[in-house]
């Protein structure tokens, strides 16, 4: 009986235990593209992120190595033309410089702006209109448990009234401070550059929303905070309003991440946007709501 038991145990364990190993895969062929992210907002100077995409199976690369240098980037309207220059800001959390192209002239409301990027012998163009209105945040609360397509999570609940005169696309933003005691996406912030300092962070909601079916009505959104918080942590909450080009872009990013994490979802291919097949990205107007100060209750 003992031998039979051992025999069956060996067989069943061999059967149960699947094995896994690291394999080398032939990297799919890939022609590098560019990624363009350009938001313009009234009363701010324009900023455009212009980076290169790289093969997925290539060498590990820092994000500040992806900036495309020597690009000629111009943002113009009927009344102005602004040539953007390469600029940078030091990110204390990532401990590196982030590069972007920055303009000199403030964007005006109710104008159509044209973006033109000349780089590597190619030209990328797109347009955006700054005639957007921002909604007003009515109230903000907090729930410890909330269930949606992202699973079970805590949530910052924001109520705001939709702007009825236009088709709207929205996104959540919170400005607050963070330090090395703060966790981002449940991982402790580790940064040699931060020391005991605290820095202001812009927390951006991963989901984007539209007002289809809710035109002019009060809209409720529940956002999972990216950074950890304690009782009394203060943040200024904004609702960003932008146009459909940015919405389509961020919506597919969100759906792709869901598919990337959740093995039961079909993969999402990033579609060509305003710039054609050689570029991924958007050029869009943006308008922030007035800030709403929120204090975390726990």
């Amino acid at each position: 009986m003992k031998k039979t038991f051992i025999f069956f145990t060996i067989i069943s364990v061999g059967f149960i235990l699947a094995c896994q190993k690291t394999i080398s895969v032939a990297p799919p062929s890939y022609n590098n593209k560019v990624s363009i992210q350009g938001f313009i907002e009234p009363d701010s100077v324009p900023i455009v992120y212009f980076n290169e995409t790289v093969p997925y199976f290539g060498e590990a690369i820092k994000k500040n190595q992806l900036i495309v240098r020597n690009a000629q980037i111009t943002i113009s309207s009927n009344t102005s033309s602004d040539v953007l220059n390469l600029d940078s800001v030091f990110d204390k959390i990532d401990c590196q410089y982030n590069y972007f192209y920055k303009g000199h002239q403030k964007i005006q409301s109710n104008q159509t702006y044209h973006l033109s990027i000349l780089s590597g012998g190619k030209t990328y163009t797109a347009s955006a209109n700054t005639n957007l209105l921002a909604p007003t945040i009515d109230s903000v609360s907090y729930v410890a448990n909330y269930n949606d397509i992202y699973g079970e999570h805590e949530g910052v609940v924001v109520y705001f009234k939709d702007v009825s005169s236009q088709t709207n696309f929205y996104r959540y933003e919170m400005k607050r401070s963070a330090d090395t005691s703060t966790k981002k996406a449940e991982a402790k912030i580790v940064s040699a550059c931060l020391g005991n300092d605290s820095v202001q962070v812009n927390e951006i909601g991963r989901a984007v929303f539209n007002d289809i079916g809710n035109e002019g009505k009060e809209i409720k959104i529940v956002i999972e905070p990216a950074y950890s918080h304690k009782k009394g942590t203060v943040g200024n909450i904004y609702i960003q309003s932008f146009d459909q080009n940015a919405y389509d872009f961020f919506s597919q990013l969100d759906r792709q991440k869901l598919a990337q994490y959740n093995p039961f979802i079909e993969p999402v291919f990033l579609q060509s946007g305003q710039f054609g097949t050689d570029a991924i990205g958007f050029f869009s107007a943006k308008k922030h709501s007035q800030p709403f100060q929120f204090v975390f209750p726990e």
Binding site: I11, Y30, Y56, E152, F264, P267
Partner: protein
């Protein structure tokens, strides 16, 4: 196929069918009857019936019945033959129509084989049929199998044009079609999930099976409802002479089959049951893994007279399993099929055979899967009530006309959820009673003529008219079917076929889930029926008095209204499934080589398929064509069995196929999202299914030892020991690949999960 050509084919078929009655009635002698095994009185399906003098012949139908009409003569010789049986020569006197029961005796052992010229089945070259393969039960029982479980579907996977799914699964793909495009019928009842144990074994108990026929092209018009294949399985009827018992004990399950007469030579029964017992051992070794399955086949039949025969067959199979594997893969399921078929065979005169059936089937699948931090729960329930009647008329030597009608009332209730695993693991469960039911009606009418124009040319042609109504959609089609045969000589023929098929039930496949996560839906106003048009051309050649059959077939198949989930679809309980599906087209073509040795000490076959299968959807892969998930360019299967002596038989099979396609990101995109929950890096996919898993190959071997013995020195019985090794060289065949980031180098890593290493087996079978 261009509409103009299709219209011409339809018109020609209609003219031929219209003219049928004008050519069929002439004074001849009709010989008809049943061909049966002498010892059990079990009917022999697809037995050959030949009149050598006239060079005409037929085969017994799926109920063992034949009818052949010959010119009146004083005496006629008819030769009956069946693989593994001694031939029977019958002399018919006079001009009277005759109803016979032919009893055939199984050859004791092929080592003592009696070779009689022209007695071997030559349907391969003589019949206007192609893409049809009868799979001998003997082969199924002899080939090496996983854990000693004889498996019909594993054998089917070794045939040309048939491809296996993932490692260890018993699902199969035919000529570039998806799993749902195979209609699997057990005694005419549809079996929606033919698998046990995560798909590792088929649900069919070989001891209860009489015949297995696979049709993958050149579909006669009595078959329909699926695009790619029909797997027609017939249960045994039960021994009408003596009580018999047979059974077996394997590593994971045991089975027992009892059969015998209820009223000698008039009625009989067969009951066959199989139950796993691995769960008893797993309870001791693992808390997270359990396997339990059973299946039960039962059938009774009663001969009311020589012209009337009643059958009642029942089948029930169920699985309960939980499994834990690599990459935190978890899988729990409960699924089962239940079917019941009440059948009445009746002879009208001696030229018209009818079969009328009432069929019920009930299928449910409850599946919970989790991988990484996510889980999916799905439930599919299907209930079908089906009534059908089929007639076979043989009005002359040259015509065999089949016609009939069927009606099915479908009830489907699918539901699914996919979400992140909650912190307290309180996952959402699906209550089947709360799911919205989809009701639909499916009906079909058909007529088919197998017309032997001359010894060298024959045509099998017909029309099937399916109708579907449900969920706001109503569809009717006219499906033309034509297969022609032109004999170059006695052993060689060329055949060509064209078939159109439509399908109203759809399994929506998931291309990303590592384990089966598919959902069944019926057509609706949004989900159009799938349609295929297939043309095939084949060269068929037999050697050494039909001892060796060979064929080369090329096919080209187009498929419309193929279904896939839209990109990024996350199903929630309230998701209207009709709205998350996208529709496209498919195209499949290939060439199949097949050589089979039917007799002698060494039997077996070799098949090689070179094929391509593509799909194209406007919403997927930027609207460009891509290889379908079941596209395997090369498929090689070798299966052989060698009778070493009267006691020992050695068997082996080898399979090789190109790896399954899957999708890898090609590029990486940085997006500045400030403090988002996401990591700012995104995938740039450039093509769906742009990579392939490693090639799949495996060698299995087995040896069996048979011996006649006596229990307690008194009761004679046959016992058999079977020793085997699955995956002899323990190749780590790929099951799926997932991506990780190397924590040290920050470079992406691909990890391959494999399931089944070398697995030894031993089983003991007995027969009284």
């Amino acid at each position: 196929m261009p509409v103009l050509i299709k219209e011409k084919i339809l018109k020609s078929l209609l003219v031929l069918i219209f003219l049928m009655p004008m050519v069929v009635f002439a004074q001849k002698t009709t010989i008809s009857g049943y061909v049966k095994d002498v010892s059990s009185k079990e009917v022999l399906i697809s037995a050959s019936v030949m009149v050598p003098k006239l060079k005409i012949g037929t085969t017994t139908n799926q109920y063992g019945y034949f009818t052949i009409t010959i010119p009146s003569a004083d005496t006629s010789l008819i030769v009956f033959s069946y693989n593994g049986y001694l031939p029977v020569v019958k002399k018919i006197f006079g001009n009277k129509n005759t109803l016979l029961t032919i009893l055939m005796r199984a050859e004791a052992n092929s080592l003592n084989e009696v070779v009689v010229q022209a007695n071997r089945n030559e349907d391969n070259v003589k019949k206007a049929q192609m893409g049809i393969i009868d799979v001998p039960i003997k082969s199924i029982k002899e080939l090496p199998v996983l854990l000693g479980e004889h498996d019909i579907l594993k054998t089917i996977q070794l045939l040309p044009g048939v491809q296996s799914g993932q490692e260890g699964t018993s699902g199969f793909y035919v000529r570039g079609g998806n799993l749902d495009q195979n209609l699997i019928q057990m005694d005419e009842a549809t079996v929606y999930n033919p698998s046990h144990l995560f798909g590792l074994f088929s649900t069919f108990n070989v001891n209860a099976i009489n015949s297995v026929k696979l049709i993958k092209g050149g579909f006669p018009s009595e078959y329909g409802g699926r695009l790619s294949s029909i797997l027609d399985i017939k249960m045994k009827e039960g021994n009408k002479e003596h009580f018999k018992a047979e059974g077996g004990l394997g590593l994971i399950s045991g089975n027992l089959t009892l059969q015998g007469p209820i009223q000698k030579n008039k009625s009989s029964y067969i009951v066959s049951a199989r139950r796993s017992y691995i769960d008893l051992f797993l309870k001791l070794t693992s808390k997270s893994t359990s396997y339990r399955f059973y299946d039960l086949n039962a059938k009774v039949n009663y001969e009311l007279g020589i012209k009337d025969h009643l059958f009642l067959s029942l089948f029930k199979g169920n699985d309960n399993a939980a499994y834990t594997a690599a990459n935190s893969l978890n899988y729990g399921t409960n699924f089962g099929n239940s079917t019941a078929t009440l059948r009445w065979n009746h002879l009208y005169g001696n030229k018209i055979f009818s079969n009328t059936s009432l069929i019920y089937n009930d299928y449910h699948l409850q599946l919970g899967t989790s991988q990484n931090s996510y889980y999916q729960v799905l439930y599919t329930g299907i209930k079908d009530i089906n009534a059908k009647t089929d007639f076979t008329a043989t009005p002359s030597t040259k015509h065999t006309i089949k016609f009939g009608a069927s009606y099915t009332y479908h009830t489907l209730y699918p539901g699914a959820i996919s979400a992140k695993i909650p912190k307290k693991n309180n996952r959402i469960a699906i209550n089947p009673d709360s799911l919205t039911k989809r009701y639909s009606n499916e009906a079909a009418f058909y007529i088919n003529d197998d017309y032997q124009l001359s010894n060298t040319f024959s045509i099998n042609y017909g029309i099937r008219i399916p109708y579907f109504s449900g969920s706001g959609g109503t569809y009717t089609f006219i499906e033309p079917r034509v297969t022609t045969r032109f004999s170059l000589n006695n052993t060689t023929s060329i055949k060509a076929s064209y078939t159109q098929m439509n399908q109203f039930v759809h399994l929506i496949p998931s291309s990303t889930a590592s384990l089966p996560a598919d959902i069944w839906l019926t057509s609706s106003n949004k989900i159009k029926p799938q349609e295929s048009n297939q043309v095939a051309l084949g060269l068929f050649k037999n050697f050494k008095d039909n001892e060796i059959e060979t064929s080369i077939e090329v096919y080209y198949k187009t498929m419309k209204n193929q279904v896939l989930f839209k990109e990024g679809t996350q199903i929630l309980l309230n998701t209207n499934l009709d709205n998350v599906i996208t529709f496209g087209k498919g195209k499949s073509y290939g060439i199949e080589f097949f050589a089979k040795k039917n007799f002698g000490r060494l039997t077996g076959w070799a098949s090689y398929t070179l094929s391509k299968s593509n799909q194209q959807f406007p919403d997927i892969n930027f609207g460009r064509s891509f290889p379908s998930s079941f596209d395997h360019t090369h498929n090689l299967s070798l299966a052989a069995s060698y009778e070493l002596n009267k006691a020992w038989t050695l068997s082996a099979d080898f399979v090789y196929s190109t790896g399954k396609p899957y999708t890898l990101p090609a590029g990486k995109v940085i997006v500045y999202g400030d403090g988002s929950l996401y990591d700012n890096y995104y995938y740039d996919y450039t093509k769906r299914n742009n990579s392939r898993l490693g090639a799949y190959n495996r060698l299995d071997i087995s040896a069996s030892n048979k011996k006649q013995s006596k229990l307690f020195k008194k009761f004679p019985y046959e016992r058999e020991w079977v020793f085997g090794f699955y995956n002899v060289y323990s190749r780590a065949n790929p099951y799926f690949v997932y991506l990780e980031t190397d924590p040290a180098t920050k470079k992406p890593l691909a990890k391959q999960v494999s399931l089944l290493p070398i697995i030894p087996s031993v089983s003991f079978n007995f027969k009284f």
